[in-house]
């Protein structure tokens, strides 16, 4: 434990890291604001449209979808639809009797903010049941041809989609954009490279590796403490940035519907996860952190094999960019940590991989592959560090 604390003190409690963290946090918030400016329909800004939207949302339509709400909405919407979409005979003049000041503005606000999303939520159950029914239909066929894997896959799909429904209507713009935002993950990777490259290299640069190799706990215990402290650092930095993302997006877009189902988002219509928004926020962050730790294990390995810091810095940056590039190729995605770091694609669609005739969710396969990759690099780091410290063939006495 003492060595772990010293490793944290040695490698991560450094002024330049704190300064960089503050700077990158500010940059991240600015990038979120910039992203929000380019990508918002309704927000927390004090515009007429947004104010009207939030008033209607909170006052009339938010929460459980009821026939009364549907009727109330259609009562306002139907005439506007007739004028704007069918007859196209709406006036361009300012009208104080409308919500937004303009007839077409009202139509668009109701259409985008309420009708379409509420229709999606209301109709989702039918869509899900269609998928479940189709899967059930397939069971007989696959049983008849003795295809156990497909039989089990369809059974899983039927079970996943059979009970799905979205009973509540919540504004989902915040989540749609939060789950598309990857810039903070890139900043975490930069912070990881900055802090992790010196973890092993610095010992060689300062000749402390010689003292470590002649110290009772300078071998295995120190190497383990370095790896563990590095992972703790990545977890803490990730949590920092992801919490800031959540707070910033909530502030700009408005926080509502945390308890809504993930599949209430159109992007996640076919998701394999039956979880709520808040659960997915946490799950997504955890999966991202696993991916980040895998990249960190590669950085630590590079740190362990070089004597000076310059090459590991360059190679770490190159590794990150190459991983991003390789993620464009489907065959490389399975073991690519970037697939976990930018994980919305992983959880958008239900897909399986075959393991001993059993269907296993694809995302589980990718997570396990990346964990295996990380484990391999951790092992390689331990072996390289041990050779560098080189206690020779000295055995530890029990």
């Amino acid at each position: 434990m003492k060595i772990l604390i010293f490793e944290i003190r040695k490698n991560f409690l450094k002024r330049y890291l704190f300064v960089t963290l503050c700077l990158l946090t500010l940059i991240n918030i600015f990038m979120i604001y910039d992203y929000y400016k380019e990508n918002h329909v309704f927000s927390t800004e004090q515009t007429n449209r947004s104010e009207v939207f939030w008033n209607l949302y909170k006052g009339k339509f938010k929460g459980k979808i009821t026939n009364e709400k549907i009727n109330a909405l259609m009562e306002i919407y139907t005439p506007l639809y007739q004028i704007c979409a069918v007859e196209r005979s709406y006036s361009m003049e300012y009208d104080p009797e409308t919500y937004t000041g303009y007839t077409f503005g009202d139509y668009r606000m109701l259409d985008l903010g309420f009708v379409r999303p509420m229709e999606y939520s209301y109709m989702y159950r039918n869509h899900a049941l269609e998928i479940a029914d189709k899967a059930m239909e397939n069971l007989e066929f696959f049983r008849s041809v003795d295809n156990n894997y497909q039989y089990r896959s369809n059974l899983k799909i039927a079970s996943l989609f059979g009970d799905r429904q979205v009973t509540d209507f919540y504004h989902t713009e915040m989540y749609e954009n939060l789950f598309r935002y990857d810039f903070s993950s890139f900043l975490i990777l930069l912070m990881s490279i900055l802090a992790l490259v010196p973890v092993f290299v610095a010992e060689k640069e300062t000749e402390m590796n010689l003292i470590l190799s002649t110290s009772k706990k300078g071998g295995k215990e120190t190497i383990n403490a370095k790896i563990l402290s590095s992972f703790l650092y990545v977890i803490i930095i990730s949590a920092w940035f992801y919490i800031f993302d959540f707070l910033a997006f909530s502030y700009f877009y408005g926080l509502t519907g945390l308890n809504n189902q993930l599949y209430a988002l159109k992007d996640f219509m076919l998701t394999p996860l039956n979880v709520r928004m808040w659960e997915f926020i946490i799950l997504s962050a955890v999966v991202k952190i696993i991916g980040l730790m895998a990249v960190s294990s590669m950085i630590l390995f590079l740190s362990s094999i070089f004597r000076r810091a310059l090459l590991p810095y360059i190679l770490s940056l190159a590794t990150v960019f190459l991983l991003m590039l390789f993620n464009e190729f489907a065959k490389m995605k399975f073991i690519n940590p970037i697939e976990l770091i930018a994980n919305r694609e992983l959880f958008k669609n239900t897909g399986f991989i075959k393991i001993l005739d059993f269907p296993v969710h694809k995302f589980i396969g990718v997570i396990l592959s990346v964990i295996f990759l990380a484990g391999a690099f951790v092992l390689a780091t331990k072996m390289t560090s041990k050779n560098n410290a080189s206690l020779g063939r000295m055995k530890e006495r029990k």
Partner: protein, 290 residues
């Protein structure tokens, strides 16, 4: 306690760094003398376990150190050449870290750190960052960290390199202080580092053990082999090329050259008392001599 090095050989690619090196060390200060590249650091790395010898073994109290494992490592205190330590650590913090990696119990460690900081005269700067230390202060911290686990074997690799004369003397005195009931191996190419404090001198040349003996015995062997020759300005290059020169002084229009030679070099040369530098020059053949 006895540290025995038995027929140690080590090669790097085509270069033989150590060849059939054998020596027995007991309590006391041993000066490991040799030119740059003589094999001093390689020998130290073999003793400390950083390098595996190609042949030979190291024994401590008649037990193979490889079989002792970390038990042997815990008996070593080591100060490498040019240590930088951690610049953002304070001295006290750094020694606590060393206690942690050397598995020194906390209470024992705190007491020991306090004593050592006083002995090396760094108590006043214990809360200062190592990055602010001078070279001499860093070396003194270095010997403190090497002593923190009260080692039976203290190994110092070129500990006075880059130090001014005052710091060098201070360091020598520290080594003498710490040498009681301990094997101290001091590797250096600076003869004066060992001349006054070493119980024995080990001379290393191109990986081979040339001599191991008390300084006075080595100096006695050189009696009748060290000469002083006075030459004029025009002829001194002839001597530089022909003989092993240990010193040249220009005085009153001529050069007094200190020559190491089995035979009287020239007519008019007078035999003078040898010193350890002459021994070093004679056996290790520094640049200007034959």
């Amino acid at each position: 306690m006895i540290l025995k090095l038995d027929a140690i050989s080590k090669s790097y690619k085509d270069k033989e760094a150590l060849r059939d090196f054998s020596a027995t060390l007991k309590e006391g200060v041993y000066g490991l003398l040799g030119q740059n590249g003589a094999g001093k650091t390689t020998l130290i790395n073999v003793i400390t376990g950083i390098l595996n010898p190609d042949e030979g073994k190291v024994f401590f109290n008649d037990v193979d150190v490889k079989k002792m494992g970390v038990d042997f490592v815990s008996k070593i205190g080591y100060l490498p050449q040019f240590p930088q330590f951690y610049k953002n650590f304070e001295a006290l913090e750094f020694l606590r870290y060393i206690c942690a990696i050397k598995d020194v119990p906390e209470k024992t460690g705190e007491k020991r750190i306090k004593e050592l900081l006083e002995m090396v005269n760094l108590s006043d700067v214990a809360d200062k960052k190592i990055g602010t230390f001078s070279g001499g202060m860093r070396q003194r911290l270095g010997i403190a960290q090497a002593m923190v686990n009260d080692p039976e074997i203290l190994i110092l690799d070129e500990p006075t390199a880059g130090l001014d004369p005052k710091e060098r003397i201070r360091f020598r005195n520290l080594i003498s202080k710490f040498s009681k009931d301990r094997i101290v191996l001091l590797a250096t190419h600076i003869v004066s580092d060992v001349e006054y404090i070493a119980n024995e001198v080990i001379l290393l040349q191109k990986g081979i053990l040339i001599k191991q003996d008390k300084p006075m015995s080595l100096i006695d062997e050189m009696r009748g082999k060290v000469w002083e020759v006075k030459v004029d300005t025009a002829n001194n290059q002839e001597f530089l090329d022909k003989f092993s020169i240990s010193n040249i002084v220009f005085n009153e229009g001529h050069y007094s050259i200190r020559v190491v030679s089995e035979q009287k070099p020239v007519e008019g040369a007078s035999s003078i008392s040898p010193n350890l530098e002459d021994v070093f020059l004679h056996y290790c053949e520094t640049g200007d001599g034959k």
